[in-house]
Amino acid sequence: MPAITRQEVARLAELARIALQPDELDRMAGQLDTIVEAIRTVTEAAGGDVPATSHPIALVNIYRPDVVRPSLTVAQALQSAPAEEDDQFKVPQILGEEP
């Protein structure tokens, strides 16, 4: 049985907010299955006692001085916006229709 079915890809695409077309779902299911098969070996590589590394070089958080720095103007922030109104980003409706 394939690790990643077409149905699984459709669910993942929905989570990732990509409206994949039917032919893409078919193609990607096959490709992802091959890829996951090949990378599955990681599960056998490390025992339970090996700590995880999330970052290559260990650093600790530091704080910058609490002073005001220049930032983008409203015009700069909006200069590549797909839509704007009254100096604000204009977005599509947030909620869908009631069923």
């Binding site: 893409e24 890829i35 996951v36 990681v42 599960t43 995880a52 970052h55 977005v91 409706q93």
Partner: protein, 531 residues
């Protein structure tokens, strides 16, 4: 001056300092070269003649005014289109950012501008730096200057091809799993991935934040080091930036170029060679080792057993981080917005339609793969295991450093493949990066220098990887190898690359022109000589 574009960046800097050439002349020469050969190479997504010439004129004026100038002031540079340029379109090779005009410069772009290097243009790349061939650019592939029917590597194929085709002496790249070093290897150029945090990532459009690193691209080791010094150093705008001085990379490159490497100890990684590696790649690698041994470098074999898990771990960590990073492309604040043809145009529907239309197949593949690796039920098995492998790889490096100063391997298992050859086989494309990925997972520096031409007449690369913060020693070893090889060949490797102007004018394909070491006039040429 016969052809300014053939000079090294260091030579250009010398002529500028001596008043024998102006930055405007240098910049014009490169813009003309771009006009001549870029229709065939397609290294650039966008050239910036007005901007570059204005910056060049300003550099010349500053020199006349007696300002204290950086060594490379006035030498032009190309910038990978993954780096934000204020007021200038930055696409990342993607449709979703086709019309994005950043409101700020990436720190490295600001630094090259402050050092007065005119920016010639933005170079082509795989979309969001995802790929090893530059074929995943939404704006068409870049062609390898050695053979126009072959890929220039990726994701930074545009930057590598630009310097390889003498369209720019210097370029900026980014390296997440090999995107600077692999293109360098397959185009006969030089590229370095600095220590993670050694060069600011502010303004670099993120793919995988724990792996991404900006770095220099050039035609030789010294030029690469000089550019490294321009862009390196601490940046408060990047939380992962190391608060440390830039290592003396140019000084150590010069030491290496003078042959001073006696006593350095290097380890040949047992796991990165042999099976799966092209014969000509291995032959050039072995010959390079011999040259280094002759210079007094101590060589031993080193085993890094966990490196065989590096590729699988990378293809879990990278897509996981990429799927999170690319969530920002949501069609709300900037970039493409596509309204679905049917149904209610809610935020979710607009996002889905926009990302469907705006992302190419490889980006979608990696986002879906990352979403899978991070989803409930798989997280511990996949992402968790991959992070443990990352620890094991760091341990392999740590134990290697007990016995050797640096590790070496071929940069890439093969020479450049044909355009289209691996597009439908993602896994075989991923294998291109098998030797470069371990350095990203461990945050260590790496550099690729040309080692010659394989049996197919195409360039091969020699990779040096060292401990974190040891960038300068990599340049020393790479410089020594370059000097020894150039001496053996009777000139730089790129002297034997095909004449692109003739190719572009004659409509002849690069394959017909042949690239088997002709024109070098030396018995022991880049293919290793008579055998």
């Amino acid at each position: 001056m016969s052809d300014l574009t053939r000079l090294t960046a260091a030579e250009m800097a010398g002529l500028l300092a001596g008043g024998q050439v102006s930055s405007v002349e240098l910049t014009k020469a490169h813009l003309e070269r771009i006009d001549q050969v870029d229709p065939a190479v397609h290294a650039f997504l966008q050239t910036l003649p007005e901007v570059a010439l204005a910056e060049a004129a300003a550099a010349d004026q500053a020199r006349r005014d007696g300002e204290q100038l950086a060594e490379l002031a006035g030498v032009p540079v190309a910038v990978k289109d993954v780096l934000a340029t204020k007021g200038l379109r930055t696409t990342c090779g993607s449709r979703i950012l086709e019309n994005w005009i950043p409101a700020y410069d990436a720190t490295v772009v600001r630094k090259v501008r402050e050092a007065r290097l005119p920016v010639l243009g933005k170079t082509n790349m795989d979309e969001f730096a995802m790929g090893s061939s530059t074929e995943h650019s939404a704006y068409g592939p870049t062609h390898n200057p050695w053979d126009l029917e072959r890929v220039p590597g990726g994701s930074g194929g545009g930057s590598a091809a630009a310097v390889g085709a003498f369209e720019a002496p210097l370029a900026l790249g980014s390296d997440t799993g090999g995107s600077i070093r692999q293109p360098a290897a397959v185009t006969g150029t030089v590229g370095a991935k600095p220590t993670y945090g050694g060069v600011s990532r502010y303004g670099l459009v993120a793919m995988a934040s724990s792996l991404d690193q900006v770095g220099p691209v050039a035609r030789n080791v010294l030029d690469t080091a000089l550019l490294h010094e321009v862009i390196g150093g601490h940046d408060p705008m990047d939380q992962t930036s190391l608060n440390e001085p830039v290592p003396p990379v140019a000084e150590m490159a010069r030491r290496g170029l003078a042959g001073d490497v006696k006593g350095l100890r290097i380890g040949v990684v047992a796991e990165l060679g042999g099976r799966g590696y092209q014969q000509g790649v291995m032959d050039r690698f072995q010959e390079a080792l011999k040259l280094l041994a002759d210079l007094g470098v101590e060589i031993q074999e080193v085993s890094c057993p966990s490196f065989s898990y590096a590729l699988p771990a990378y293809y879990l960590i990278m897509p996981s981080e990429a799927s999170s990073n690319l969530a920002r492309f949501d069609a709300m604040r900037y970039g493409l917005r596509v309204t679905p043809a049917e149904g209610p145009a809610t935020v979710e529907a607009v996002m889905g339609a926009t990302r469907e239309a705006g992302f190419g197949p490889e980006v979608k593949r990696r986002i879906i793969l990352g979403t899978y690796a991070l989803s409930a039920g798989y997280y511990d098995a996949y992402y968790g295991s991959a992070q443990k492998v990352r620890t094991l790889i760091q341990r392999d490096f740590e134990s290697a450093w007990e016995n050797v100063d640096m590790l070496v391997s071929p940069t890439v298992p093969t020479t450049a493949f044909k355009l289209g050859e691996k597009l439908e086989d993602p896994l075989s494309m991923y294998l291109q990066d098998v030797a470069t990925i371990p350095a990203n997972l461990a945050g260590t520096p790496g550099i690729s220098v040309p080692s010659g031409l394989a049996e197919d007449g195409l360039p091969t690369g020699f990779q040096v990887v060292g401990p974190a913060r040891a960038d300068a020693y990599l340049y020393q070893l790479a410089g020594a190898l370059e000097a020894a090889l150039v001496d053996k060949w009777g000139g730089p490797l790129l002297d034997s690359a095909p004449d692109l102007v003739a190719l572009a004018a004659g409509g002849q394909t690069a394959g017909d022109a042949g690239s088997g070491g002709r024109g070098i006039g030396h018995q022991d040429g880049p293919t290793g000589g008579a055998k």
